[in-house]
Symmetry: C2
Subunit: 465 residues, 2 copies
């Protein structure tokens, strides 16, 4: 159901007029601001909202949503704008709700290993805040995203193999529903069997069922000891198989990241790591000093069994920081492989038993297509990324890349995996949901229709037409 | 909305006639069978369905649901009937769908640490099946429940502090929705951001949104080393505070169970453990030999700091089995405290920082009420059980116990906890959901109305009228 079809004549102008009166200088129709609040990160078109409102409280979000609902005007939540699938675009216009000023840490409860933050707090801001208390929040997507946005897209990152994803880390959400009702999805007990799991329903719903305004998160203690290291392999298959055995052996590894040979070359150039130009695993172990030593030894034995080079672990913080900074800068490093081209980052995730096969087929596909596209991945979860370097002004290249994306999604789904492990659906992956979910897609549609009957919450995202 | 109000005249008889034709000897209207398929475990009334059908495939469940939907007849799923809150009662009549014959282990995939089972497979059956492969499924509610039922009630147990609950352990569900549609809620990747989390929506929905017919579960490797032990404390507060510090210290403890003095006395009598009659923690550590030794040492230091008695760990399997059998038999042991009385088991769960306070207030309440009611709990999660010994033929006692239950639920909720950590809502705890969830309850009602518009799926459960 299209919002515009429902919108009463003059509804948009009336709504914007009321919002301007209510929010004053925090309401803007400036073209450049609107452009910045729509998709700017890849080849998806930039589709700006009609106005941007900077909200400061949950009650303000509720007020805004009630006004928009009355006039059938779309509401598109905005955190940091770093989503990779066009999540912040406004294809039907409407209002972009910028939550970045809701950036207060409301409470940290070390005794319960949890905290409550406003949706606009970013993951780095939270970790800076927590450090003195010996706590950290482990989930680390590439960007310094807002925690509300990370909850909305069910984000994860390099630590997920040990600490889980946003699905596992969110204890409770405050959210504004499509009629302006403010709800709390749960209380703070570590577990509950009291009713439907609205927390998990909103996590990953990408602003299409409600707007997340506050997030209560599980925290972890900073480990007593941390060791990190790199290990070279002859092939991606060997690296994947070493990963599989590491997971199967129950080693509680904190991070295990694959970089293919091309990605290692790019990273060498960008970050001066000086690694041999073969596939590598970057790993990290957390625990007591004795446990970390034991894990590193066990991993070293497994790596050696698959022809891995000698594994040396770095325990000095500055060495570890250099390593992981290089890993997190993969996006920028990849850009160096083809200056001037755009990076189109995508992800897929398969059962770990199919990982080596899926990565190998994907590499063959890349070679056949002639794309420059390094692979990097959170392979402990069966999740990997392809970063395509594309001249988006060249329609032939764009078409090649689009077809490649389709084959990758279908390959992952055919292996009982998913078209996205952590980036989300947004606009970019809607077309694969029917294949991935079959009749379950109808259930998702029923939920959307029940909770947002006017279709005003982030229309054009997640569910295909 | 009441199903009976919707039911067309003669609808029930027509539906039962069609089901009898279709299922033959697997359809029964026998009074004793119907009674056994309704609540038999506590003081809640026994409210039988009008018929019982033994299904053998997902397609049969779909066929049954379609017939019942056509005639507006309630459908009540039945696994082992061990739910503690009247989950299997049929207050509006209808059909009890017995899934116990759907007891095939469909696939075990050691390489992915997962398995797929039919809903009627019980947790012990699965663990017997897995043992030769070095794998286990850690979630262990007291009863040998069916895995479909455990998913439906979001069950957990003694291992949840380390391994999570059914919320964390279910990868994918096959379910029959209210119109007979068969869905798969997800694929088998360890994580996904592709659409709404229908898996978590059905986990804990207690058969009110769909009937779970197959479950894909995460498995764990049997640890290389296991050590268990007991530790006596002077007070419940000391034991709780030792628990809190153990969790905060990040010790990856596998089990940490509190037994209050009365429960220890009952367990001594029942299982001959010969422990001093003071509060105890029963604990277990999993990991490598070195890790287990380190965890046990660290726990011993923490326990000593709170006046805990000397902690001795048992590594011999037979000693551990005796210990945990005694813990699992708490229900039967409690019965010995007042022969002839019924055991009314309830549970609550609070943030761990409030645990000592919540247990202490609850003990004071028990003393004041004059109930015989030992406490036992999964305290690492802030979750504890009260087992009331009640003469259910005595209305005064029943009233006392009911008021006590209400105070316990409200106490837990007032401490930012939940009226049930793992037993579920069923019929017994519906009355507390408005207090616990506030406006979020309206969202749950919208979802129920959208997914089961005729109200035929397990009516009278979870959501209050």
């Amino acid at each position: 159901m299209s919002v515009s079809a429902l919108r009463s004549k003059g509804g948009l102008a009336d709504a914007l007029g009321r919002l301007e009166l209510r929010f004053g200088a925090r309401f803007s129709r400036g073209a450049e601001l609107r452009r910045q609040h729509a998709n700017t990160v890849n080849w998806l078109p930039n589709e700006p909202a009609d106005a941007v409102v900077f909200v400061e409280t949950t009650e303000e979000v509720a007020e805004l949503v009630r006004i928009c609902a009355e006039h059938r005007v779309p509401v598109v939540p905005f955190g940091t704008g770093t989503g990779l699938e066009g999540h912040v675009n406004a294809p039907l216009g409407g209002v972009s709700v910028d939550l970045s000023r809701m950036n207060n840490v409301i409470a940290v409860r070390p005794e319960d290993l949890d905290c409550t933050v406003e949706a606009g707090v970013t993951r780095r801001q939270l970790n800076d805040y927590l450090r003195d208390q010996g706590l950290f929040f482990p989930i680390d997507p590439g960007a310094d995203a807002s925690l509300g946005g990370m909850a909305a897209t069910r984000a994860s990152g390099t630590n997920a193999v040990r600490y889980g994803t946003m699905r596992d880390s969110v204890v409770n959400l405050t959210a504004v529903m499509a009629d302006g009702t403010i709800i709390h999805t749960a209380r703070r007990a570590r577990k509950s069997s009291a009713g439907y799991d609205l927390t998990r329903l909103l996590v990953g719903s990408e602003g299409t069922l409600g707007i997340i305004t506050e997030v209560t998160l599980r925290l972890s203690g900073i480990p007593e000891a941390i060791a990190a290291g790199v290990c070279a392999f002859r092939s991606v298959e060997d690296a994947c198989n070493a990963t599989i055995l590491t997971i199967q052996s129950g080693i509680p590894i904190a991070r295990i990241e694959l970089l293919d040979a091309l990605m290692v070359r790019a990273t060498n150039d960008f970050a001066g790591l000086g690694l041999p130009a073969t596939p590598h695993l970057f790993v990290e172990f957390h625990g007591s000093a004795a446990s970390v030593e034991e894990q590193a030894r066990q991993f070293g034995e497994i790596a050696a069994a698959f022809g891995g080079g000698s594994f040396q672990s770095a325990t000095r913080p500055e060495d570890r920081t250099k390593l992981w900074q290089a890993r997190h800068d993969a996006y920028f490093a990849a850009k160096g492989l083809r200056p001037g081209a755009s990076v189109i980052a995508t992800d897929a995730c398969v059962p770990i038993s199919r990982l080596a096969e899926c990565v190998a087929e994907t590499q063959a596909d890349i070679a056949e297509t002639g794309l420059i596209a390094p692979i990097v991945g959170h392979v402990g979860d069966g999740n990997f990324h392809v970063q395509m370097m594309v001249d988006t002004a060249n329609p032939h290249e764009v078409e090649l890349a689009e077809h490649f994306l389709g084959r990758l999604a279908k390959r992952a789904i055919s292996m009982d995996g998913t078209c996205t492990g952590e980036h989300g659906v947004g606009q970019g992956k809607r077309k694969y949901l029917a294949l991935e979910h079959g009749p379950a897609l109808g259930v998702m549609r029923s939920i959307k229709a029940a909770l947002d009957p006017l279709g005003i919450l982030n229309p054009g995202k997640v569910l295909p037409e």
